[in-house]
């Protein structure tokens, strides 16, 4: 939908955005939470989002999580000639796996089958999408244009189909989400670091999740810089909160922050927080807090895992240890959105990008 917060999205926005920058990459992301307690989250990749940069990487990375927090990760790379990407619509094929829009951005078919794991899902849009105004005219090449970074096509979708876990296929229904990220360099390499966030970078951590509370949907990504970044909120530097009532965007702000506490290195060797307090801070639009208590860590990726020994030594000595997590949590939301009180409690999960040291 078009209003002052976001321009109209078109099928071309979800197509491949051709780019000649060596470190550029795109991914098509989806997730879903099913009524039977299973969760899936995954990406179809064109180029590598993790260092070292590799524009020829074509792969899928799709995780299935059981209600108990068990994980099945499907990470499979295919040769370039077994993959195809349309520059007109979302039509992404990576080996036998695909993600395709059906007609327009209201409906998608996502298919993955690798060994004993698989999914065959249809996404029907319930709540629309978002792109930062001024970014990314449809499918324009870049440079010289600024990569759009983040385009959301389905903030909330009805998902139906099947999930295959260890060879056992089950019918599923649930709530899903689909977005598309486009970047000019692998995560962690912008701003100067060799494989990690560089000096002055405000993004020591970024937490991303959604809140579903009745008719309200809030899609948020927030964090706070480290001490070296002056503990700034991520507002204006990547953080963003988009609030919907029904299918209408009613508030967008960059003013807010998320701070982790009660940290541990349990299970990972890399520090992560057991509690995250999210503060929305734009009076009149969206204000209040989300308290998140982590109950399960369902994903951990060590961004130094492909680094050689002395690169790791240097990075850990001078920068910290970047990593990627997904945490399930219990939440308590106490918000006011455009003056209306929104209270909710429940269970959900978040993505956590840890770029450097500290919280």
């Amino acid at each position: 939908m078009t209003n002052k917060w976001s321009r109209e999205l078109t099928p071309r926005d979800d197509a491949l955005h051709p780019c000649t920058v060596p470190g550029a990459w795109e991914w098509w992301y989806f997730d879903a939470d099913f009524e039977n307690g299973y969760t899936t989250a995954g990406t179809y990749h064109y180029g590598s989002p993790r260092p070292p940069a590799n524009s020829d990487a074509r792969f899928i990375e799709i995780a299935l999580y059981s209600p108990e927090g068990e994980r099945r990760m499907v990470r499979k790379r295919y040769p370039v000639d077994q993959c195809s990407f349309s520059t007109e619509v979302c039509d992404v094929v990576i080996g036998p796996n695909h993600m395709k829009m059906i007609g327009n951005i209201d409906k998608y078919h996502i298919y993955m089958s690798e060994g004993d794991q698989g999914l065959d899902l249809t996404y029907e849009r319930l709540v629309g999408g978002y792109v930062t105004p001024g970014q990314a005219q449809p499918a324009e090449a870049y440079p010289p244009n600024t990569p759009p970074s983040w385009i959301v096509f389905q903030t909330r979708a009805r998902v139906t189909g099947t999930l295959t876990w260890d060879g056992k296929t089950m019918n599923v229904t649930g709530i899903g989400y689909h977005d598309h990220n486009i970047e000019s360099a692998p995560y962690g390499t912008k701003g100067g670091g060799l494989g990690a966030s560089g000096y002055g970078s405000p993004g020591s951590n970024a937490f991303w999740s959604k809140l579903h509370a009745g008719d309200w949907t809030v899609n948020w990504v927030l964090g706070r810089s480290s001490r070296r970044g002056g503990y700034r909120s991520t507002g204006g530097t990547g953080g963003r909160v988009i609030a919907y009532k029904g299918n209408e965007i009613v508030a967008v702000t960059t003013r807010g922050y998320a701070v982790g506490s009660d940290t541990t290195t349990e299970g990972t060797g890399v520090e992560w927080p057991r509690h995250v307090k999210v503060t929305f801070d734009e009076p009149g639009l969206i204000e209040g807090t989300l308290d998140l208590d982590v109950t399960q860590q369902i994903e951990f990726m060590d961004l130094y895992s492909r680094f050689k020994p002395f690169q790791k030594w240097y990075g850990e000595t001078f920068i910290g240890h970047p990593a990627y997590f997904r945490h399930r949590f219990n939440y308590d939301a106490d918000l006011a959105i455009v003056g209306e009180k929104v209270r909710a409690q429940g269970k959900f999960w978040m993505e956590h990008h840890k770029f450097g040291r500290g919280y």
């Binding site: 001490r227 002395f310 030594w313 920068i319």
Partner: protein
């Protein structure tokens, strides 16, 4: 990598080092003030001497060898002269370190794992350039009094993609 890109990357890395060093300095200063257990009030001559020592130890622990490695790598990348990395700059670092009254704890801690790390990499079966083998052997035989040189070698190995 083109020289301009190497230069740009090194320039960015200087910022990384300075940020890390300034945090260590601020932490060391905080510890020092806490250890006095009184409101600092006026900074006297002894305090100034101690703060200057903290500054010196921070610069020696986190900046000198690494900046030397960046500049040396930049020149090495342009001239392809191994002596820059093998002897010219390391000799200067050794001479500088020999003037230290004491070796900072941070410098010892930072480099303590490097000899074992170097031995493991050296014994691995991956193919290595001659200069990489030299630097690994150099760290592997590191003795007390060569902390700056070990840091230099390790930083250069990082820039060489090791």
């Amino acid at each position: 990598m083109a020289t301009a890109q190497v230069s740009e990357r090194m320039a960015e890395q200087i910022g990384v080092l300075i940020c890390e060093a300034r945090e260590h300095l601020a932490d060391a200063l905080e510890e020092y003030l806490k250890s006095k257990k009184v409101d600092i009030g006026v900074i006297n001559v002894n305090d100034k001497l101690n703060i200057e020592r903290l500054f010196t130890e921070t610069v020696n622990s986190y900046i000198i060898a690494e900046i030397a490695a960046m500049v040396s790598y930049l020149i090495y990348d342009e001239l392809k002269n191994d002596d820059i990395l093998k002897s010219t700059v390391p000799t200067m670092l050794q001479q500088y370190e020999s003037m230290f009254e004491r070796i900072p704890d941070n410098m010892v801690n930072k480099t303590s794992d490097l000899p074992d790390l170097a031995k493991r990499v050296l014994e691995s079966e991956t193919e290595k350039d001659e200069i990489v083998k030299f630097l690994l052997r150099d760290i592997g035989t590191m003795s007390r009094g060569n902390y700056l040189k070990a840091s230099f070698d390790a930083a250069v190995l990082n820039f060489l993609g090791e």
